[in-house]
């Protein structure tokens, strides 16, 4: 029996990698992938806790997260493509339309 803390540590590491990549990387597609990584880290904790408590809700939440992530990926990719078309770049440092 693997103790719960292992799962949680793994999830934390994955999440941190996601966050770190999100902050460091410039390519918007890579950033997108790191978001997925963070979501997976969260999913992992959900599953781990669901297993520990012998309850199903955690796993159901995982499905929700996956659904939302899929939707996000679809919308996000569409946005990325349209940005690339207008600005000819995927470097987030140059995508600062929100700044005034």
């Amino acid at each position: 029996m693997v103790p719960i803390s292992w799962y949680l540590i793994l999830a934390a590491i994955l999440f941190s990698i996601g966050v770190g990549a999100f902050l460091i990387k410039r390519n918007v597609v890579t950033i997108f992938m790191s978001i997925e990584l963070m979501l997976n880290a969260v999913n992992l904790t959900f599953v781990a806790f669901a297993h520990m408590w012998h309850q199903v809700q955690g796993q159901i939440f995982v499905f929700f997260v996956m659904v939302v992530a899929a939707a996000e990926a679809a919308v996000g990719l569409a946005i990325i493509i349209s940005i690339f078309r207008t600005r000819q770049t995927l470097n987030v440092d140059q995508i600062n339309l929100m700044k005034n």
């Binding site: 966050v19 999100f22 902050l23 950033i31 987030v92 440092d93 600062n96 339309l97 929100m98 700044k99």
Partner: protein, 662 residues
């Protein structure tokens, strides 16, 4: 007589103040006059009734009207109440009687002034506070009246508030009096600390039952009270406000700065005589202050050219006399002089006002002269005043002044004889400067300008309204001004006869009238009867001789050979010093006012305004700018920096959750 009607004495003028002060602006002048006069006539009649009641056989020596507690703290109560005894009765009679006459006079004098209603509202307010002061049964209520007359005086001195000098004079009076009030307040605190009471009755009864209370803290209390009295009664060192107070309208000078308010200090010392009797040191201080002020102010009065300023310094000097009387524990002599002085000084001021009125605002005696034939009624009434104050028998001033000089001479005070000499010299100087004023104003060649330019006119709006009676040129005042003059002249002649001493075949009625109040002053050891009448008569003869000498000197220098004194003055080194009032105002300016202003500027402008106010403003501004600079950086529009802040925030939340154990 219903004791509760006592309340009407102060409340009636207050009502007049309320009516004139609120709606007076919209009322026609005759109605304003009627209101002001009516509400001052009522207390006068009440006092008359009171007088008859208290004179009647079997009448109580004092009437107390208590209205329950005023301030109530554990172990300390101040009752709210008023009381009348023989001392306050005399004061009340002076305040209401002379006050009413001056109201009457003002109706004529102020007839052409702007703010007529305002003037009468202030006058009535003054009467209200003055009667509160006199009627008070506790130090605290006395203090209320004390402050109130200060306020009314401030308002009235600064009546012509568009004139800088008047506004400044008002402020000066107010501020100088505050210094005195500080002493008064300290005295009250000491009274509370030692007696746990501020009621006259309780404090004096407590002293009476403790014969071991001598000097010590009583001296401290008495000296604090004296500081207050020197402020209100314009004694050294706080006399400087009174001459400046002449900036107010002349009736104000007469009412406040001669007849009533400035006597409050004398009244207070007399009222607290029980305290002073136990402290020979405090009494000595009072006597020395009084004598010094008397001669000092008389010196300055001798060389003034402004007719009202001569009278102002004369008032300061005469108040010094009253202080001197109190200082040798001859309280009834002091009160006697207070009364006669109220008559003739009010008369002198009002006649001076009439002269000024006749000359359309001219106050400089160098531009008067020869007015005797032009304004005969004013001349004759003023003559009575001049003779009365100069101490020519049998006019009022002679008896009261002589009583003071005699009491000073026989007092056990170690320097009593010296004080007497000072008083005597003052009497001679008083006679000199009063006759100087008399000769310069009414005799000799006419030096005034017959048709002064309207710009010089003190009555500002003056003659453009169809006032036929008030035409240009020298003219006698209307009857409404002359009536008070005549009445006061009569009082100045006969007013002293209530105090004719036994030595001159009288009964000293005022002294006996006041006996119940000044029961057995401990300090006075020498009895008049014991010293014999010979001494008293001799001293009286000396003072009459001195008064005549003053007359003679003035006669020679200002009537017979005018100009000799001018030459003498031109060569003298002393003259400019005296003429400039010993530079006291300038010294005060350099020693006190300027450093105080500089200090205040340092505190207020540099520290408070520059440091505290501006500093805090700048600090707030800079903080906001700094914070906004930081937060502005967060709003970069850069997705990753948003995410970074988000992560940082989340990390902070987690840290708090872990370490603060929410």
């Amino acid at each position: 007589m219903n004791p509760n009607s006592l309340w009407l004495i102060p409340l009636s003028p207050f009502l007049g103040f309320l009516i004139n002060g609120t709606v007076g602006r919209r009322l026609p002048r005759p109605l304003v006059t009627a209101i002001a006069l009516f509400f001052t006539a009522v207390p006068m009649l009440l006092v008359l009734q009171l007088w008859i009641f208290m004179k009647a056989a079997g009448a109580p020596e004092a009437i107390h009207v208590l209205c329950g507690p005023w301030i109530q703290i554990t172990g300390f109560t101040v009752p709210f109440g008023i009381a009348v005894d023989h001392l306050s009765l005399i004061m009340l009679a002076i305040v209401t009687g002379v006050g009413f006459l001056i109201h009457l006079y003002s109706a004529g004098y102020m007839a052409h002034e702007e703010g007529y209603w305002r003037f009468f509202a202030y006058l009535n307010l003054f009467m209200f506070f003055m009667s509160i002061l006199v009627l008070a049964e506790s130090f605290l209520l006395l203090f209320v009246g004390w402050e109130g007359v200060g306020l009314a005086s401030y308002l009235l001195i600064g009546f012509y508030f568009t004139k800088d000098s008047a506004a400044n004079a008002g402020k000066k009076a107010f501020i100088v009096n505050r210094i005195g009030d500080f002493g008064f307040l300290l005295g009250m605190f000491l009274l509370v600390a030692h007696f746990g009471s501020l009621s006259f009755n309780e404090v004096f009864a407590s002293i009476a039952t403790h014969p071991e209370y001598q000097g010590g803290f009583l001296t401290a209390i008495a000296l604090c009270l004296v500081v207050g009295a020197t402020g209100k009664s314009a004694q050294i060192p706080l006399y400087v406000w009174l001459p400046d107070a002449m900036e107010g309208p002349t009736p104000v000078s007469a009412l406040i700065h001669a007849a009533t308010m400035v006597t409050a200090g004398i009244y207070m010392v007399a009222r607290c005589h029980v305290l002073f009797d136990r402290s020979p040191f405090a009494l000595g201080v009072v006597a020395i202050i009084g004598a010094a002020t008397a001669i000092f102010a008389a010196c300055i009065g001798m060389v003034q050219h402004d007719i009202k300023r001569v009278l102002a310094y004369s008032t300061v000097s005469q108040l010094g006399y009253m202080f001197l009387a109190c200082g040798v524990a001859a309280y009834s002599a002091g009160i006697f002089h207070l009364m006669t002085h109220a008559f003739f000084k009010a008369l002198l001021f009002l006649s001076a006002g009439s002269v000024i009125h006749a000359l359309s605002g001219e106050q400089d005696m160098r531009k008067m002269g020869g007015l005797r034939k032009r304004i005969p009624v004013t001349f004759w009434t003023m003559t009575m005043g001049v003779f009365a104050i100069a101490g020519i028998p049998p006019l009022a001033g002679f008896f009261s002044k002589d009583e003071i000089l005699y009491q000073t001479f026989v007092s056990p005070n170690p320097i009593g004889k010296l004080l007497w000499l000072v008083g005597l010299a003052t009497a001679g100087m008083t006679s000199f400067y009063m006759f100087r004023l008399w000769f310069k104003t009414f005799f000799g060649p006419e030096r005034f300008d017959e048709h002064p330019a309207p710009a010089d006119h003190a009555h500002k709006d003056a003659h453009d309204d169809a006032q036929a009676a008030h035409a240009h040129g020298v003219h006698e005042s209307p009857w409404i001004m002359l009536t008070p003059l005549v009445l006061l002249a009569i009082l100045s002649i006969i007013g002293g006869w209530v105090g004719v001493p036994a030595a001159l075949g009288g009964h000293d009625e005022i002294g006996h009238f006041l006996d119940p109040v000044f029961v057995a002053p401990l300090v006075v050891a020498v009895d008049g009867e014991k010293a014999g009448h010979g001494l008293e008569l001799g001293l009286a003869a000396v003072s009459v001789a001195v008064a005549l000498l003053g007359f003679f000197v003035a006669y020679v220098f200002y009537y017979k050979r005018p100009g000799t004194l001018g030459k003498l003055a031109a060569t003298s080194k002393l003259y400019p010093i005296v003429a400039n009032k010993f530079y006291i105002d300038e010294i005060y300016n350099v020693v006190i006012v300027t450093p105080l202003l500089a200090f205040a500027r340092l505190i207020l402008e540099v520290l408070v305004d520059g440091g505290l106010v501006n500093g805090s403003g700048k600090l707030a501004g800079l903080t906001t700018i700094g914070l906004s600079n930081v937060t502005r950086k967060m709003q970069s529009g850069n997705i990753r920096s948003y995410a970074g802040w988000l992560a940082f925030g989340a990390a902070c939340v987690i840290a708090v959750m872990i370490f603060a154990r929410f």
